[in-house]
């Protein structure tokens, strides 16, 4: 046992960190004794910039809060504005939004597959899942015109209706993905290396999870069943059948299993929403965006994003610009506070591995 304590800087540029942040580690040998997260390398002042833009112009910044999951940001902000304004959303738009939100969940988890397996040295799966993710991005491209930053869900509904043939393409993509998930299982969950690396590592204690503010897959990985889609259903979720998978253990393994099962649930949700897709309008028009004012008021709206519960606090002073927009995201809690608590005692090689399992997104921490 080495007694000498060494300081090690992981990041801000590091392949194991999805974005720019730094973890200052105190290590004895290859065991972490203390971890301190440092952020501030990616600050773009989006929340402040939005205050200078009108309600619609804000959307080009919102989707850039977090690269792997732009859609929940759009959706939550749109819902907050709708709540302040009292703007109705047509049923068709609600179903389309649900589909987009679930597609976003799947594509983000496929990206996570790459990060999680890559940080344990298993590179093949990452190539597969990111390749398959492109079929979802194709769906996004057909639907919204863009692959990553969609700018698609905005107050009153969605920007364009479903294009011709899109529903069939979506069904086919879901069928394909469902089959591919079996291949992924063989490469990751049946893999002895991953099992050894993930089980019992990075444990979030069940009795601390709520206190620490853990959300999403990490929370459900401790056995606590919490999901905004079920607890406070929004969009079309109340009409659809799905379960919220939970696993006991609170370790990387449990979190991975939750995500694996959630992809299956998302596929099922998308199929149901496609089956039940109502007709009618997809958009309750807003007035001329240049002069569109939202009545004075405020809203706090929550959504189950890919990484867990997120919320937007939006304040309007009655003008054509938001007075304040604040995001309470999952990444800050997971990446800054929880990470510091669970790293001591872990192996240096597991730091990136644990970071990935928490679904930390540094751009979202800083906004």
């Amino acid at each position: 046992m080495i007694e000498k304590e060494t300081t090690l800087y992981l990041g801000p540029q590091h392949p194991g960190i999805t974005g720019n942040m730094m973890i200052k580690l105190k290590v004895k040998g290859d065991v972490v004794t203390q971890a301190e997260t440092h952020v501030g390398y990616l600050h773009r002042a989006f929340e402040k910039l939005i205050e200078g833009r009108n309600w619609l112009q804000s959307f080009t910044l919102l989707c850039r809060f977090c690269v792997p999951e732009p859609d929940p940001m759009e959706l939550t902000y749109a819902r907050a504005v709708e709540q302040i304004e009292g703007r109705e959303v047509p049923p068709r738009a609600k179903y389309i939004r649900t589909i987009v939100a679930e597609l976003a969940r799947i594509q983000s988890f496929l990206l996570w597959y790459g990060g999680q397996s890559g940080s344990s040295g298993l590179y093949t799966l990452g190539q597969w899942s990111v390749g398959d993710r492109n079929y979802i991005l194709d769906l996004f491209e057909d639907l919204t015109g863009a692959r990553i930053y969609h700018m698609y869900m905005w107050p009153g509904g969605v920007r364009r209706d479903l294009p011709e043939g899109w529903v069939d393409k979506a069904y086919k993509t879901m069928d394909y993905l469902e089959k591919r998930l079996e291949d992924y299982n063989k490469l990751l969950f049946d893999n002895a290396i991953f099992q050894k690396r993930a089980q019992g590592v990075g444990i979030i204690p069940k009795d601390k999870a709520i206190e620490w503010g853990v959300v999403g897959a990490p929370l459900r990985g401790t056995g606590i069943k919490h999901d905004v889609r079920i607890d406070e259903p929004y969009e079309a979720y109340a009409d659809l059948d799905f379960v919220v998978p939970t696993y006991e253990g609170g370790d990387v393994w449990a979190r991975a299993l939750v995500r694996r099962d959630e992809i299956k649930q998302s596929i099922s949700i998308i199929r149901q929403a496609l089956d039940k897709m109502p007709g009618g309008s997809y958009y309750n028009r807003i007035p001329n965006p240049m002069k569109w004012t939202v009545p004075a008021g405020e809203a706090w709206v929550k959504t189950e994003s890919v990484r867990g519960e997120i919320g937007f606090y939006v304040v309007s002073d009655g003008s054509n610009k938001p007075r304040r927009v604040h995001l309470k995201g999952a990444a800050y809690t997971h990446g800054v506070s929880v990470l510091e608590k669970i790293l001591p005692g872990q192996n240096i090689a597991d730091v990136s591995f644990i970071l990935n399992s928490l679904g930390v997104c540094p751009p979202e921490i800083e906004r």
Partner: protein
Amino acid sequence: MSIIDLKGILTPMTALKQIGKQPHTINFPDEQKDISPRYRGFHYNDLEQCIGCANCATICMNEAIDMVALAGIEGQAGDSGLRPQIDYGRCCYCALCVDVCPSGSLNMTQDFIKVSPDPFDFLMVPGKDNPDAKDKLSFTADMDTSLNVFDRVPMRELDPEERVKSFAEVFLGYNEEEARIEASRCISCGLCTENCPVHMHIPEYINAIAKADDEAAIKIIYDNNDLPEMCGKVCTRRCEDVCALQVRGEAVAIRWLKRYATERAENADMIAEIVNPEIREPNQYKVGIIGAGPGGLTAAYYLALRGYNVTVYEAHKDPGGMIMYGIPKYRLPYESIQKQVDYMKKVGVKIHFNTVVGKDITFDEIYNNSDAVFVAVGLQDAWNLGIEGEDADGVWSAIDFLGKVNSGEQVDIGKRVVVVGGGDVSIDCSRVSRRLGAEVYQSYRRRIQDMPADLEEIEGAEAEGVHILPQTIPTRVIKDENGKVKGLEYVKAEMISEGGGRPRPKPIEGSETLIECDAVIAAIGQKADYSLLPEHILAKLEMQKNKIVVDENRKTSIPKLFAGGDAVVIGRNDAISAIADGFVATKAIDKMLMGKK
């Protein structure tokens, strides 16, 4: 690793099955990717369709869009002449520019690959720099997905059956809610300002209305229009002709919004309180103004604000000129004009009514006692029809007819009237005749779509039961034995296109038709009456086709004599052009006199 984990070691090996499968990737450029029909790639702008409104540049929060002048594209009415140039180092392909493009010229394409070592290659004028992209339009500016609001808030109006019973105002005006909604449609491009003869600050006051600040709107409006309530009711609204939204939808109701704002000030005191104009210290100069029509009143008002001692000479008993005597009261009530003129009097405008220049006071007296004179006498005489029998009893000129009705005199036009003409004045005559209880026919030489009258007015007339007889040319007034009108004979006309001009009516031989009537009203235009001017002035005053020649400052060929209104060669024959004349002359007179110091 224990033997029990053998499954965990062998199962991942199944990945080897994938060897030999087709990869996800394509072999570019031998293979091309299928690009979505909705892809948001580089822009393409139809340079012909684009009106240079800059709405794309306004919504772009990346400031990626600059409006630039291009060789071969000149600015004109309804087109700034500028076109968007996009910096692809800044563009984030959000396509908000496409969704707010009112003309639908700006679209996105399936092109997204551009390789160049020169950064300036990424500064592109869509449409000019990528003409080939025209065939690859993808994310398009369609009407149903546009963020522009193309439909105007309808104006409430009296029922046609009610209208013809009295001279009550036909249009009821927007209420507050309607005005706010209508004002919020404006995209503030300012094309309207360019086309307005006085260049009113249209986007600014509409913005104030949209923000529920009506007082600010009134203040902005009075900055360069002293008769805005009149304009709000009857302006020929050339602003709306060039509104960016009218390219694909309905123009913003600029006129009705101006009416809404100005009507918030219910009387002259309120106008004075809200506008609260800065009035300069009185100076020693005197300006004489002949004619209290829109031109004369405008010059009087703005000169008074500049400290001049202004006196207006008006032949009639009421102010307003043609807007008082020529425009029917159902369009512009008496009280409305009176209110605006009362306000002008408050800022120091003096008006001598019932003062006929050349009779009650000589022109020379005014000219010699003033440091500058502005003449805005309008067109007082009617053109004759020039047909046989025109001297019959019951043949009216539009100007006499409307003048008498507006003055409250009893006018007997009988049971059936034929109005001749196709302009706004002719429609006024028809609709007034309907209100006097007559059955009305209106004869016009060309087709209805060729009528110079405002479409809204034509539709209003038809709704009130005016029968329009298009492509008819009057040939003879039939008299009875007492010399009274008995009927009008006309020939039908066919439209012939010759050269490049608009189609010309050609009489069809043998198509003579007789329509029995009790009165004929000729509304085919007016000419000026210069009898107020003395011989020695007329001898020196440069004229052209019965109109006074003025330069761009409304200065005539005679020293310190300025002219404006319908009787000058510049501008159209409408109130807003007269106001522009008065406004421009004000500046020129101010410059001339202040320059003396």
